[in-house]
């Protein structure tokens, strides 16, 4: 049966992709350690690079999950994802500063929930108002529409919150200064644990959703074959809206847990979105686990690279790696992957 074969191919593809990524990553790591020998770095420094990189990587992974969710169902690369990432922490800060309950923990929690809720609503509105009317157009047209949505949302954020950096308190201490754990010369911030925990939880919930619920299976069906899904009575339009809602949740959640580590600004989204996009591409834009692995690897390698060379070339590394990976795996990317979403 066709379906069986397709799943089998898909699994193989996944495995090969992971394997290749592993080899390339390992070779690069060796090269980077060779470069680092100039600075007499010890194990502690390298371990610190990995730890820090894992944190950035976890965020990239969360962003990538948002890209994959939308792409799988609608075939659209959603640049508005960058705006979702930014809206989460910005709104959380605004609600938190209202201090409705007087207890910072509760303020932060409700603020974050409200922010995620509103961002989700905005995600749904973007899909309903901007993309749904253009559902019959070329994929590139839809991408431009999401760029328009990103620009409008970013402009609105600048209007509301101004250009300066804002402060989201660390979740553990509820002050701008975070709790630090030090052991064996390593430094881990409490917020890093929140970030890792959130990413793991999000991945687990997504897996459960797609494997165990009817809705999740329906969404997967849309990804595999939209026409067939429609014929089976799945409301494809609703699935598209749902995917945007999920992307908005993932994006704003990622932004919120990242918030205390940085100083959120109105234009923080696009850079993160680009890195998340790179991670998502590694998973062929459809594969959740590989996208997560890609995001984490990107974070670690990038941090390693910045550590052992001039930091100004950080982005160069990320994108050279990307091109190398794309070109080295031509067989995978050149064939029309069975799960690739057909253009509408």
């Amino acid at each position: 049966m066709g379906v069986m074969k397709i799943e089998w191919l898909d699994k193989l593809g996944k495995r090969v992709a992971t394997y290749w990524l592993g080899i390339v990553a390992f070779l690069m790591l060796l090269g980077l350690i060779a470069l680092g020998s100039r600075y007499n770095f010890g194990v502690v420094e390298y371990a610190q690079f990995v730890l820090d990189g894992l944190r950035a990587g976890a965020i990239y992974a969360l962003v990538a999950l948002g890209f994959v969710t939308v792409y799988r169902v609608t075939g659209v690369i959603n640049f508005a994802q960058g705006a979702f990432i930014m809206l989460g922490p910005m709104m959380t800060i605004s609600f938190y500063e209202q201090g409705w309950f007087g207890t910072p923990a509760l303020d932060l929690f409700t603020g974050a929930l409200l922010a995620i809720g509103i961002t989700t609503l905005i995600g749904v509105l973007v899909e309903r108002l901007a993309l749904y009317p253009a559902r019959r157009t070329l994929p590139l047209t839809k991408v431009i529409i999401t760029i328009g949505a990103y620009l409008a949302l970013q402009g609105a954020a600048l209007l509301i919150w101004g250009p300066q950096g804002h402060v989201l308190p660390a979740f553990t201490t509820l002050t701008p200064a975070d709790q630090s754990f030090r052991f064996a010369g390593l430094l881990v911030k409490a917020q890093s644990l929140w970030i890792w925990g959130t990413t793991a939880l999000a991945l687990a919930l997504l897996a459960l959703f797609f494997e165990r619920t009817i809705l999740g299976k329906a969404m997967r069906a849309c990804a595999v074959n939209r026409m067939a899904a429609q014929l089976m009575g799945i409301r494809v339009d609703m699935m598209a809206t749902l995917s945007f809602a999920m992307a908005a949740i993932l994006g704003s959640l990622g932004g919120i847990v990242l918030g205390p580590v940085t100083r959120p600004t109105y234009d923080m989204g696009l850079d993160l979105a680009l890195k998340g996009f790179v991670a998502a591409i590694m998973g062929g834009l459809v594969n959740f686990p590989v996208a997560v692995v890609g995001g984490v690897l990107l974070g670690v390698l990038e941090n390693f690279w910045a550590g052992v060379t001039q930091a100004g070339f950080k982005d160069l590394f990320a994108f050279v790696v990307l091109i190398v990976i794309l070109v080295l795996q031509p067989y995978r990317f050149m064939m029309d992957s069975p799960t690739e979403v057909e253009p509408t």
């Binding site: 590139l140 620009l151 031509p330 990317f333």
Partner: protein, 372 residues
Amino acid sequence: MKHKISIDTQAFGVGILLFGAIAWLEFVKPSGYSLASLTGGLLTLDMLIRVGLFTIVLVGLNLVMGYAGQVSLGQAAFYGMGAFFSAILTARASVLGIPPALAQAWWWAWVVMLAGMCFVGGIAYLVGLPVLRLRGHYLAMATLGIGVVVYVLLKENLGLAHLNLTGGFDGVAAIPRLRLGEWTIWPVERYFVLVWIVAMGVIWVGLNIVNSRYGRSLRALHSNQSAAESVGVAVHRAKAQIFALSAALASLAGSLYAHFQSAVIPATFGFGESLELVVMSSVGGLASIWGAPLGTLAILLLREILRTQLRVILPSAKGEVEAVAFGLLLIVIMIFMPEGLTTGTLKRYRQWRAHRQLKKELSELLEPLGVK
């Protein structure tokens, strides 16, 4: 087929007339009037020159994206490479040890411009051969990557900090104006004539490519690569060639930009600019050479109107509001004209004509029967 050509020719004629009229207006300035004063300051030579420069880039981009169907999210990189190639070899010639006698000759800048086109086109060809084997979003991602890599190299002085060739974030300033012998192509109205002669030449080349055997093979590989291959189209070479041509055109525009702006900075050629180019291209109409000038004009005019007119309606409007309005208008344009202004308008025009024709024929048929 015949119909299409005639529309192109008509449009070309209109373009030349417009160009001539504007040039006449600006050189003669009849009773003190200029383009800017006649259009209420909306159209200026500065803007039309920028439209011309982007037109040169977009004709190339449209050939790659609209006709060959290969998405490029890194076109600003080639634009920037051209600009910095010209800037470095003219304004920083002494650093590279180029004798002043050579660097100050009037023809040097033109030679550099041509060399830049060959250089950038050659690089694009070499990069294009492996990268253009990718499809769809992978290709988009790879070209985006090329764009970021070039941008980082420009802002990090190509990794050669001691030479300070690109000037880091501050870029290269004091780029000389272009000259023909002793005659400087400046002030601005002379440069306008130069840019638009080049732009129209590029449009003409673009139209010819589209209607040639080569253009047909591009469209064939757009609609079905395997089918195109099976009828003997050398798919990979054709893709790399058109990619190289578009890069060379972007480089040409970049060189002209450098001599116009007289100062270039890397920030002008980042990812945002690549996106802007794709936006202009889509708004104008991807699969249309005429989409290049129209899309650019539409976007630049839109920005200009937002900048100068929004505050008339909304006195409290400031830069932030412009950004929001631009994003929203972009969405609206893409929803109502998903194929871009050119293709969309042409389609509507044809529909309207067909409709009228049908009505006429129907009434001719029905009139003898006494039916209204």
